[in-house]
């Protein structure tokens, strides 16, 4: 049986599945339930200075896509609205009762050294395993000069990180905002500031939907709405790319990354880990289905690792990073064509109409006494994959490599490239 234990920037946990700083980790009651369910760690919902902030009602919006609810999720909730002392007392109690689990505390205080120096010893006193600097919250707090307002300015990221490293011996994880042009800039800044790790992505600025009766963004609060932070399954591709950019950046290479963004299953987690994450954080999936989902995440990841003979997480962590390259490094002589398994085909015609209307007219449609038939016109097929994706039947369309026998040819050396380099 695979060993799922992780040591993330010195923080140990029985598995890589942590709950992200969010409503599920707002108080002792929830966190204890999460640990009972089997979560390897939590990042306690962000603490701030007293007096606590005040939240609005309501707070969430969601995207339902083709019957699937919460495909995307958005919130306008701020950091904890409970007094600091209450949170600290509960954190201390939980850590005492659950010493084997990772307990990281998320923090957000004004961008002044004094504020950070004041709060850090209080957190350290709880026995928490580490802190996560919330430089990501894109709504509400950012208007007050905190959250993503800090995360969007690499110099601030570096400065605050340095303060924290000076005033605490706890590992410092810097949580990054995706609302920025180049994610590598704040990651590099965090590293310069001495960060032990980064975590990403925080939520994406969004208007999740418009209430067409109220004529206001959702969620509607007294007839008006504000932009929110978008997360859930829909943001996973954005998060994967940003994690991978940091993992392959020579300047930040080796910096531990806690992957966040739409992780709902063990497979999602495995993908983040393959692209360089050392732990993963989950929120939306738990908010959708409750803490019990971790059960299948743990078993699913372990079973897959057994199947692939990965004994420990490190065995495959970062393994896909080296294959994440810039477009210009791809082989232009590599070719695939679509194959339709006629025995599996249910004749829905989705491959045909997609190719016919929007791609390369490479799927023929014939009607005869025998019925409908869809077949690939090899000469027209560019191997784009669209038919494979729209086909509703598993394994009906496969992309088969057409061996050209030609050597690898990249754009760098392609004759059509006016800027081409001479062949190596």
């Amino acid at each position: 049986m695979a060993d799922l234990r992780v040591d993330f920037a010195g923080i140990k946990a029985p598995n890589p599945f942590w709950l992200a700083s969010a409503p599920p980790t707002d108080k002792e009651y929830n966190v204890v339930r999460a640990f009972r369910a089997g979560w390897g760690g939590v990042v306690w919902k962000t603490l701030g200075e007293d007096p606590p902030i005040v939240n609005v009602s309501s707070r969430y919006g969601a995207v339902t896509y083709n019957g699937a609810r919460v495909a995307g999720f958005s919130n306008i909730e701020l950091i904890t609205d409970r007094p600091l002392a209450v949170n600290l007392r509960e954190i201390k109690a939980v850590k005492r009762d659950w010493p084997d689990r990772a307990l990281v505390v998320s923090l957000m205080v004004p961008c002044e050294e004094e504020s950070w120096r004041r709060i850090l010893p209080l957190v350290e006193d709880t026995g928490a395993d580490g802190i996560e600097l919330n430089f990501g919250c894109p709504h509400g707090m950012s208007e007050r000069g905190m959250g993503s307002a800090v995360g969007q300015v690499p110099d601030y990221v570096e400065m605050v990180t340095r303060w924290c490293k000076q005033h605490t011996r706890m590992p410092v994880i810097v949580k990054l905002t995706p609302n920025i042009t180049d994610i590598r800039a704040p990651a590099r800044a965090a590293k310069r500031g001495g960060a032990d790790a980064v975590s990403l992505i925080n939520t994406i600025q969004s208007i999740v939907a418009v209430d067409l009766d109220a004529m206001a963004p959702e969620p509607v609060v007294g007839g008006q709405g504000s932009h929110g932070g978008y997360c859930g399954p829909a943001v996973k591709p954005i998060a994967l790319r940003m994690v991978a950019e940091i993992a392959r950046d020579p300047e930040t290479s080796g910096l531990p990354i806690s992957g966040i963004g739409g992780i709902s299953t063990w497979r999602d987690a495995a993908e983040f880990i393959a692209l360089g994450a050392g732990s993963v954080q989950v929120c939306t999936a738990a908010m959708h289905h409750g803490f019990r989902i971790v059960d299948d995440m743990i078993a699913g990841l372990a079973n897959w690792m057994d199947e692939k003979s990965h004994g420990v997480i490190e065995d495959f962590s970062g393994r896909a990073v080296r294959n994440f390259v810039n477009w210009e490094a791809l082989d232009l002589n590599y070719k695939t064509v679509a194959r339709i398994d006629q025995a599996l085909c249910i004749k829905c015609g989705l491959c045909h109409i997609a190719c016919e209307d929007t791609s390369h007219q490479a799927i023929a449609y014939e009607q005869s006494e025998a019925g409908r038939r869809f077949s690939v016109i090899d000469a027209e097929c560019v191997g784009c994959n669209l038919c494979y994706h729209v086909c509703p039947v598993e394994n009906c369309i496969t992309m088969v490599e057409e061996v050209s026998g030609k050597p690898k040819l990249t754009w760098k050396h392609h004759p059509n490239n006016p800027m081409r380099e001479a062949a190596e």
């Binding site: 249910i346 015609g349 989705l350």
Partner: protein, 457 residues
């Protein structure tokens, strides 16, 4: 059963075998409508196929993926219009169509997972939505000055009338019965179209205007085709099948023997179903939906033993597999490969039926086999098919194989006379009748427009 003892028993035919509450419950909707949420889930199962097989399988060519997408996106009005544009009886067809042999059989999900998208139920969701809002989506074009006579106010006649009205033609429908609706009103089992749905749907159809219905006017009795041709610009014959087939054996008149269609019609028209007398033991002879509807409703009225007897096998029954299962679920026994030999009676009242076993020969024809059996019966319903009855012999279009001959445009052999529905050859289904009416209306309109052009030319 000890010998022929039953022959000397008094027939047991009684009303109120079951209490009122049970009857109200059992004669309510056979299939509950989808809730809005369930409809959304079901709609999301549709793959939105290209050149969709379900649409090709629908006799009226409804854009099935198109209307389902409307349900999925919350465009219920658009969905309903897509349906009604092709089939003005979309509401009743959603309830009575044998979708399992039409659209739902063609659904690619049937091939994939043996569970098609519930197209009929979704169609009902959309059409019910529209009708519940009393929306009248169709308008008639300005009056053309043309008058068209439609004979028969069943689905074919009304569908034709509605489309003609949209073109601005004035339509007068002549109906032999006391109420319009045809088989929707008289021939469909009560639980398939409960709550006066057939009447409400006709009100909805007539809401377009330009259509008048004269009831209790029958061709050959109160009207002649010759006079209609003289008085109207065109005539559409939607006569249905007024006759019922005989058993093909000697039938001495016995009380308790009745055509299944009459029984079904009486049931449909009865507000107090419990007051209808029903036998304790009922035998239904035949293998179509009429047999199923008569037998199932006999059970619901409280008959203890109900048997359908059919001279061929389950695969040859014109009742679909779903219909057969429906009857069996309601406690009807179906006996295959037996043909009636003679009716047994005592004192002028039926007491049973003697059947002879049958088999199919190499050509699929029914041949009598060895062995007889007797089913005691207090009541016997004959459901061995209906037939078109020629209303007039003089000046009537050519009839072949017992049905009026038409071309692809539903033109008969007489100029200006068109026909559709069960009086022409084809599947005897509401949905097909609607399509006939639609095609005939288009042809009438085109032919009249052409004639007008010639007149002006």
């Amino acid at each position: 059963m000890s010998g022929d003892a039953f022959l000397s028993e008094e027939p047991d035919i009684a009303s109120h075998r079951r209490d009122e509450a049970a009857l109200v419950c059992d004669f309510a909707d056979a299939h509950k409508p989808l809730s809005p949420d369930a409809a959304l889930v079901e709609a999301s199962r549709c793959y939105f196929c290209f050149d969709a097989p379900c649409t090709a399988a629908c006799p009226t060519g409804i854009d099935v993926p198109g209307f389902i997408r409307g349900i999925a996106t919350g465009n219920l009005k658009g969905a309903a219009l897509k349906i009604l544009e092709e089939n003005i009886f979309g509401g009743s067809c959603a309830r009575v169509c044998p979708t399992e042999i039409l659209c739902e059989r063609a659904c690619v999900r049937t091939a994939q997972e043996e569970r098609p998208v519930a197209i009929g139920a979704l169609q009902r969701r959309a059409t019910d939505w529209l009708m519940a809002r009393n929306l009248q989506p169709f308008t008639a074009a300005p009056a053309s000055g043309r008058r068209i006579a439609v004979i028969g106010a069943g689905p074919a006649g009304l569908a034709c009338a509605h489309r003609l009205a949209r073109f601005g033609h004035r339509v007068e429908i002549f109906e032999a019965r006391a109420k319009p609706g045809g088989l929707n009103e008289y021939g469909i089992a009560a639980y398939k179209l409960p709550d006066d749905f057939a009447e409400r749907e006709i009100d909805f159809i007539l809401g377009i205007g330009h259509i008048a219905i004269a009831t209790e006017k029958a061709l050959g009795r109160d009207l002649s085709l010759a006079s209609l041709r003289r008085d109207y610009d065109a005539v559409f014959l939607a006569l249905g099948q007024a006759g019922v087939n005989a058993l093909g054996i000697e039938e001495t008149p016995l009380a308790g023997v009745e055509d299944a269609v009459s029984f079904i019609a009486r049931l449909r028209q009865s507000k107090d179903k419990g007051s209808l007398p029903i036998g304790r033991r009922v035998v239904v002879i035949g293998g179509g939906n009429t047999a199923i509807d008569a037998a199932t409703q006999a059970r619901l009225l409280g008959a203890e033993e109900v048997s359908i007897v059919y001279r061929r096998g389950p695969a040859q029954m014109s009742a679909t597999g779903d219909e057969q299962a429906w009857a069996e679920t309601h406690g009807v026994g179906i006996r295959h490969f037996a043909a009636p030999l003679r009716l047994l009676g005592a004192g002028g009242r039926v007491r049973g039926v003697v059947f002879q076993r049958t088999r199919l020969d190499a050509n699929g024809a029914v041949v009598l086999d060895r062995g007889e059996f007797t089913l005691p019966a207090d009541q016997v319903f004959k459901a061995v098919g209906q037939r078109f009855v020629l209303p007039e012999t003089e000046g009537f279009p050519v009839v072949k194989g017992g049905r009026i001959v038409v071309d692809a445009k539903r033109r008969t052999t007489i100029a200006g006379v068109y026909a559709g529905g069960d009086c022409i050859a084809g599947l005897d289904l509401t949905v097909r009748a609607v399509e006939d009416g639609k095609i005939a209306a288009e042809a009438i309109h085109a032919d009249l427009s052409e004639a007008k052009e010639h007149a002006h030319g």
